[in-house]
């Protein structure tokens, strides 16, 4: 029990004294996952909306692929991003393997289908006639899409949270394509894995508490959105 208690005490000490290494790791985590989420918003919302609003052959297959993609295993993403960025790989010339950029790419690949799937569901859940109503108000197609996205903003916000929550807590891909290099590509999850394997439970617990707080904050926002009055 001493182990745990000591660990927690040390963890709070590190947090309260704003340990530079812990802070740096947290900052990089937020930077990498934040950027990846932002990229996934562009990809996810545009493709999700397009699939929701167009009829085409094989649409069902695409929808099922997107839904499967929402549960993409990070290790699998890590593997393929590594292969692509490998020195002899198709994108090897970029020389970005084991950099934060590679981590952003991998996390964007993980988050995009999540945002896409939620966007698809959100746009489809809008009243059937809403599109016709918007067009009858004189909207161009672009204006219609923009108004629809605005109408679906609450579930889309949930998509943002889910995407961010998915990548900030992900470890497999980050360690594979980032390499967990100290002070360069080390993030909360990869650091926790490493410190735990070394027996540095205090630092590991401190990092975990930060992760938990982030997770709690995300869920707080999500719950708040869910509990708002349902649209008619």
């Amino acid at each position: 029990m001493d182990l745990i208690l000591d660990g927690i005490l040390k963890a709070f000490y590190l947090l309260i004294t704003l340990d530079p290494e812990v802070l740096g790791i947290t900052r990089l985590s937020l930077q990498v996952s934040g950027t990846a989420t932002l990229i996934s918003l562009f990809i996810g919302i545009s493709i999700g909306t397009m699939v929701a609003l167009t009829e085409f052959a094989g649409r069902r297959l695409v929808v099922s692929l997107i839904n499967t993609g929402m549960g993409l295993p990070p290790v699998v993403v890590g593997l393929f991003v590594t292969i692509f960025l490998w020195r002899n790989g198709p994108l090897g010339f970029l020389e970005i393997l084991y950099t934060p950029t590679a981590m952003i790419i991998a996390q964007a690949v993980i988050a995009s289908p999540i945002v896409m799937g939620i966007t698809l569901a959100a746009i489809q859940a809008l009243p059937k006639n809403l599109r016709l109503q918007i067009l009858s108000l004189g909207a161009t197609r672009a204006q219609m899409v923009w108004i629809l996205v605005k109408e679906a903003k609450l579930p889309l916000l949930a998509g943002v949270m889910a995407g961010f929550g998915g990548v900030i807590s992900e470890v497999g891909a980050s360690i594979m394509v980032g390499g967990n290099i100290k002070g360069y590509s080390r993030v909360l999850t990869t650091a926790t894995v490493m410190e735990t394997s070394r027996g540095n439970f205090d630092i590991a617990i401190a990092l975990s508490i930060i992760l938990l707080l982030l997770a709690y904050f995300i869920n707080l926002v999500l719950t708040h959105i869910q509990q708002r009055e349902r649209p008619r």
Binding site: N129, L132, S136, A139
Partner: protein, 367 residues
């Protein structure tokens, strides 16, 4: 000199769904400033027709022209859509304030802010909801929401307005007051309107012309009295009912009753109306009684008219007797009475109905 083109005209309009023809309109024209009602049972194609006329559904065949100009999916579609407005059964308001909702069509058109504000306020005023301006559209009642939806449509100042059962999900008192306001606004603004409903009383009240639809086709189109009194076939007759519909004008007021002149005859009915106001009388055939020989002099609150039997139609248990009293009238008699009175076509009888048996529809004066 050519005749000016009608505001909206379609020819050979066809829409298919799942391999079936769901809309088949050989020709339809709508003149500027008139109100056309589409009536018919659910699934008759009213909504499909409205949405096709508004170019929200692409037809599989046929052509549509607006003010004589052809509108197709790659020519003039957006310009046409910016001249129309549509209100659905559901209010379909956006998740924002009432102001922003009413402003939405104007913002889409890139109108400048002060003009938007004027138009929004004017239309909220018109529909009696200026106090809702800053409220969230999610937090108002169903009747208020439909008023906002109508204000949003009218703010555009559409050249043609499509209404798809806009009152169907409202309770009767709410519906009544909204219909009254809408009628006034449509007449004041002289807005060309096409209005789908399954309620023939709504249609009768609002429209200049009624089109009866079934299975994707227009079965009959004409002025309300014509469609109601001379239904083209059995389906139309059963849908519009076989009531006698008479139009006239109030000429004298009594104690809770009034006299209206109909085709030169005076008919007494119950209600409060203004002298000179146009009224529509609906008389159900079962409320009309026939007497032979013709009686003289009326009993209280009873309308008695000498009438000639023009036609007798057997309807199973009943006979439908068409009468000419100077205005057309329809009565039901049993087979027993028919024999007892030995009724036959061309016979002179007296027809009577109580003032209370008349359903009075007040038609708002056209400006």
């Amino acid at each position: 000199m050519t005749v000016p083109a009608p505001l909206l005209a379609v020819r050979e309009l066809r829409v298919q769904r799942g391999g079936f023809l769901v809309l088949d309109i050989s020709s339809l024209t709508v003149e500027e400033g008139t109100i056309l009602s589409l009536i018919g049972p659910n699934g008759a194609g009213k909504t499909t027709l409205l949405q096709t006329l508004a170019c929200l559904i692409k037809p599989h065949g046929g052509e549509l022209s607006f003010k004589g100009q052809k509108v197709t999916s790659d020519h003039g579609l957006l310009q046409y859509r910016r001249k129309l407005a549509m209100v659905f059964q559901e209010p379909l308001l956006f998740d924002t304030t009432v102001f922003q909702n009413v402003a939405s069509g104007l913002k889409i058109r890139g109108m400048d802010h002060s003009e938007i504000e004027n138009r929004v306020k004017q239309n909220l005023e018109r529909f009696g909801i200026p106090h809702l301006l800053d409220r969230s559209a999610r937090k108002i009642s169903g009747g208020e929401a439909q008023r906002v939806a109508l204000a949003r449509a009218m703010a555009i100042q559409p050249e043609i307005l499509f209404l798809d059962e806009p009152f169907a999900s409202l309770d009767p008192p709410t519906r009544e007051s909204l219909m009254e306001d809408l009628e006034k606004i449509l007449r004041q603004t002289n807005t060309t309107t096409i209005f789908a409903t399954h309620d023939r009383m709504e249609a009768l009240r609002l429209s200049d012309r009624i089109a009866v639809m079934n299975q994707g086709r227009i079965l009959q189109i004409g002025p309300p009295e014509e469609v109601m009194n001379q239904p083209g076939d059995e389906f139309i007759a059963s849908f519009v009912g076989v009531e006698t519909i008479l139009t006239g004008r109030a000429v004298r007021k009594g104690q809770g009753t009034f006299m209206a002149s109909i085709d030169g005859r005076e008919v007494e009915a119950v209600g409060e109306v203004e002298i000179g106001e146009p009224v529509v009388f609906c008389i159900r055939p079962e409320n009309v009684t026939l007497d032979v020989p013709p009686r003289r002099g009326a009993t209280s609150a009873r309308n008695v008219f000498p009438a000639t039997i023009t036609r007798i139609v057997p309807l199973g248990l009943y006979y439908k007797v068409h009468l000419d009293c100077g205005f057309p009238l329809v009565a039901y008699v049993t087979g027993h009475s028919l024999e007892n009175l030995s009724l036959h076509e061309g016979q002179l009888v007296s027809a009577s109905f109580k003032a209370t048996a008349i359903h009075v529809i007040r038609k708002t004066l056209k400006p």
